[in-house]
Amino acid sequence: DAGVTQSPTHLIKTRGQQVTLRCSPISGHKSVSWYQQVLGQGPQFIFQYYEKEERGRGNFPDRFSARQFPNYSSELNVNALLLGDSALYLCASSFSVWTDSISRTLSGELFFGEGSRLTVL
């Protein structure tokens, strides 16, 4: 079975431009999350979507937006790019959303794609 797939794998943009990153989750997974990983740091949470609804948003400006489609794929959009937006953008899918009520199991376990590496010049 295919894992989480992301496109494009690499891209270069200039300041002020806009970018759209795409993610296809593992078949059967209904939740998609987006994380930003700056070089030398751990991933930072941006968004989670479940069943096409936003379930959570991290501490990112409104320039960042996302959506989930009926087939559970997702797009992350970043407007008015800044140099500081240069990072690896990771998409992760899970069968369901994480919650303590799920009998201490990891049905909310996140499976990460290989990421889209964005360079802003």
Binding site: V4, S33, Y35, G40, Q41, G42, P43, Q44, F45, Q48, R55, G56, G58, L90, A92, V97, W98, T99, D100, R104, L106, G108, E109, L110, F111, F112, G113, E114, G115
Partner: protein, 109 residues
């Protein structure tokens, strides 16, 4: 204050050594604790998770959580060159994971 603090290293050990990795976290409400492994230019993959305090063992890997001191540990026994990677600790809270900065480990053959 970051939710999860992790020494970024780097850490270099000879093959066969025990690797010890540590993190601290700030929110006592956290209940789930994970360790992810990330190879260069790849996404993170889940190694192990624990619920609340205690130990969990999986082959050469042992994860420990001490909630009284808010301390998370990962031990790798009989380390192999293939264990060379960045190891990320994380806590789960509702809809998101909070990651440490990651520790880069190199196991020398």
């Amino acid at each position: 204050q970051k939710e999860v603090e992790q020494d970024p290293g780097p850490l270099s050990v000879p093959e066969g050594a025990i690797v010890s990795l540590n993190c601290t976290y700030s929110n006592s409400a956290f209940q789930y604790f994970m360790w992810y492994r990330q190879y260069s230019r790849k996404g993170p993959e889940l190694l192990m998770y624990t619920y609340s305090s205690g130990n969990k063992e999986d082959g050469r890997f042992t994860a420990q959580v001490d909630k009284s001191s808010k301390y998370i540990s990962l031990f790798i026994r009989d380390s192999q060159p293939s264990d060379s990677a960045t190891y990320l600790c994380a806590t789960a809270n509702d809809y998101k994971l909070s990651f440490g900065a990651g520790t880069t480990v190199t196991v020398r053959a």
